[in-house]
Symmetry: D2
Subunit: 348 residues, 4 copies
């Protein structure tokens, strides 16, 4: 490893994603914190906002833009729609940009508008971005200067199904029953996320075909399928009374007459060299615990009818930490690839 | 309501189900605790075992059988297989029996053996039992002297799908993704249920077609279907980090060309007079909180493709409290029906 | 019990206290819901606000005042300071008032102002109120028309120490280390109560001599002491990652040369006939679980130096459910006493 | 930092402490896993026992002893009493030993026997051990070959009070009200640690002067006091419904007429150069969150009577992660010191 240390700017640093990103940067031998921003807490420090001892001053986004040349990369941890213009502004300075919002993930601005309900004001920039799912788009991410880090739910579903889609063996109907920790909703005051409302509860929301993250599943899995896919998604996210982690339990049909061994082989081959994807032995399902506080995606493959060796229905379980592989960890993984560093640097 | 007060014996009173049953009996104007048993804690009192002030002495099952004539009804809260012979013994005394174990739920002893792995030593008694799902078998439960209270998971799934099955409109494939609180596993020392293992975790188990409770879903829903059903179940239970409650998210196809309004009507009609089943307005999904600490089953009906009014795919969410509607509450509801009391007595 | 059913108005019904009060009223044979109010949700129903099936319309406080004659008692579940004027308005209509806020608890308006930072605009009414801690002020509560229901923390500390204070045997220094579930903070959107902030955390706040509830401890315990007490309180509340319940671990010195048996006798005598106070056997400490979902206060008495039979230092543990004995349950207990009903009606 | 990498043997690796130690070793540039043992799971791998992908084989303690020469240091994560003889055996091989059990922490074997109820069968070895609280015994730990890593509760209390004791300003009576996550109880199947028993609960246990860890508080704080201390401890541990973390809320009197500024100065000076102890600004109390997943001890200093600048009563709050600073993190800190590495290596 060389000894260059890059400086990172973080826009929107006081959310859970930004906080986690700072922790990762602290462990990363080639990254250090440059400036960090917070619109609501500019003038304070991280220690004023979180139970931590980090005395980084929080500056405004405006000041950050003026100080773009102090950093080598900007990670944007802003809400969707709030990232569009800041990305454009940072991009003009020439600094490398990794955007963790949804704003530059979707290739088609019309799709963005349909799901997010806002016009995309920088459609010209979208083409410059690569979608930061390293296991699928590794070659494009290498050396990239603009990366859109994937959403948390789609990361779990896309990694769970990519080997099947790529092999053209994924049945048309995909049912993903996903459960997410509360940090996925962001750090905000809202009655729905008050402790008493979430604790001892389990809340399905946007069930069916209503959650924005479906767009990323369609883009990645349709795109990965030879000849293009046209999967029909049913996606049911649930709010789980834990802080972090996503478990997706996914019901699929495997086409092409594959045996159980064939299916396992598809995964084994697809992920043989992946440092952050782990396929469980037969008979095991992924749990939240498998990945909490790691950058891993752990996948379990279970035939739906264990007594029927030639059955074509499967349950794929996939677990990630929504703040790491589902957000900041994946962003750092992208950074490593983009800079030509070892992909796992600071993430093991 | 008349003023007769019946005495209840509880076999296996120190588990979570027995404990909850005692709380229900305390609120029930026509029930009081006779004797209660515990093999492991005989000689102690409930206050020695639970954080409560109940000084009921715990006696052995043997002593309880000798004192069968002191009670009007025996509730058995024993593990599966452990109930078979005690039920036979109590039955000989002529006392009314409500068994909360799985031992007398399945009509076919061969099916029992296939799922539970033990021979049924009292197959002759099975026919005397009625399956205590009041919303489906109300007439048979009225006046019944032997009742097998349903399992927790099947109660949520069966009530969620009964209107469709009865109307002959339930598609062949049923996928139930269920999440249960830890009390469903019973009160026992086991590493898998140690707080640290469960907290901040979500654990799928027996995923696919491996959980014993599938047998009750097949029995009830196949049986309710005109001409008999042959549904193909995929059932994925998950251990949820909460004490109590089950949420089942169920993926089905509705046959017969029904519109969304038709489907809602089926449920409205089927459950119009049910005191313990509540169907949510369109657009709402059931949450755990809807039913915790109640005897309710709350059901949400969501089209999988909201934009397609004639779509036939649905997500049915169903919530119950596994200790109440999924066990002791349902047992008391059966008791009320069996004794000719108002069905809701002590349960509202 | 007679067959009269009283109608209750609830001001501020959508908070956790109001919600719990409605549940209690449903179980109470002599109470039913009249109207309920919510300033923020007027025009909606409870089912719009909580995961429940209660279709009570929510009206404004103004409308409620015009409809005061429809109810026999008004329970006010409003924040402190917000209750002062509504109480005055309801009082003019002659309706019975039970105020669950802090506004009429403190006899001295100057003390109120010191702790709550607002002027008391109805000091003339304070004298009409009785402090609704039934175990201490039972005679005054009987027949009372204006009752100030006690705060949650003080209920646990006052019941824990009342027998010692009344006997003049409580040492001057009192250290109360209290832990409360999050519902004690009320139902509101605030980052500090966001699930992620509270879960897996324990947060001391207002440690020392800074929490408003100290005023109620001083008023009750100083008042109960023969000749008047002048206790010196150190009070450390902690926010606990549970929904409900308070556990106070209290460090005291017992004066007067009492033996351990003497101390236990003081409690046994003081609480011999109390339906809602339970003193644990020697060697046991109170846990949250002892009282959750009950109107009980459970107390444990532990000598600090078990080897020294004549030691004078004790640890008193006291557990209540903050929403029941610490709020709505206690309010109903007061109502029962005030109306001449059996004190335990609807509360067992 | 040099490039030597030491091999660590871990005895009792499948408990929570051992698991955490392996995670630390993975991040430590100068440590790697040699062998690891488990009596109950010998022959399996870590991945069979925990939800992780570590394929380290688990060997028996007997085999480990034969392979002592394969490692440079042995960390023993065994229960108390179970460490005495293995330590002797490993010691004979000459390997460096860091014992995380209580067996070699107490200088006086009679004190060990009094608290732990077992005879110490290797009293001759005790003198060779240094107590591994680096902030107090740093000089002795440098180069040490036998280190007894401190207990979790005592670490929080001793670091919280050490500056006062060392200055001779700690009042005789010390009241420590401590709350610990469940991992502190070890990884075992026991009804008391079943999820349902712990969740939504708070359980005081061994309240007063009954918990074994008091011995370590007495040893360290009495020893640190000029002329020797004779503190009188009241210690109340509570089982908290979280996985990890200890918060101690400690009530003390400061002697010697110190002002609040003086007291803060004592701490500032004592911990000025400590990498793992952080004293909060005035007005802040320590929370669990301050230290979870870190090797920090965070301390808050709060005057009990904020209005009395010359008051001598204080509340000291101290937070640690019981598995890190309270166990494995501290053990690695000791290792670093013992080997002459930077003390913070692998721990930041």
């Amino acid at each position: 490893m060389d000894d260059v240390v890059y400086k990172a700017g973080i826009a929107g640093a006081t959310g859970y994603t930004g906080y986690e990103l700072i922790k990762l940067i602290h462990r990363h031998p080639a990254l250090e914190v440059g400036w960090i921003t917070s619109e609501s807490s500019a003038g304070k420090t991280m220690a004023d906002v979180h139970a931590c001892a980090w005395d980084y001053p929080l500056i405004s986004l405006d000041e950050a833009m003026r100080r773009a040349d102090e950093v080598d990369v900007v990670f944007l941890c802003l809400p969707h729609a709030a990232s569009i213009e800041p990305v454009r502004a940072f991009d003009k300075t020439g600094v490398r940009v990794i955007d963790l919002s949804a704003d530059y993930r979707l290739r088609d601005p019309a799709v963005y508008t349909r799901w997010y309900g806002v016009e995309h004001t920088a459609p010209d920039l979208i083409d410059d971005f690569v979608y930061g799912l390293c296991e699928v788009y590794r070659d494009e991410i290498r050396g990239a200067r603009k990366i859109a880090a994937p959403g948390c739910y789609p990361t779990s579903v896309n990694l769970a199904l990519y080997p099947l889609a790529k092999a053209g063996c994924l049945g048309e109907r995909v049912i993903a029953d996903s459960k997410s920790g509360v940090s996925g909703a962001g750090r905000k005051a809202a009655l729905a996320y008050n402790f008493v409302e979430v604790h001892d509860n389990l809340v399905p929301y946007n069930v069916g075909y209503r959650h924005r993250h479906i767009a990323e599943m369609e883009q990645v899995l349709n795109g990965a399928t030879p000849g293009g896919g046209a999967y029909r998604f049913t996606f049911s996210p649930h709010l789980l009374p834990v802080n972090r982690g996503i478990l997706s339990t996914i019901y699929v049909t495997v086409t092409g007459g594959l045996s159980q061994a064939d299916v396992r082989d598809l995964y084994a081959v697809a992920y043989a060299d992946e440092p952050f994807v782990s396929v469980l032995p037969a008979g095991q399902a992924a749990t939240l615990r498998h990945t909490t506080h790691t950058n891993l995606c752990v996948i379990g493959i279970t035939p739906a009818q264990p007594d029927q060796p030639d059955g074509d229905e499967y349950i794929i379980t996939a677990s990630i930490d929504n703040l790491l592989k589902g957000a900041s960890g994946q962003a750092v993984q992208c950074f490593n690839l983009a800079m030509g560093l070892e992909e796992t640097t600071g993430l093991l």
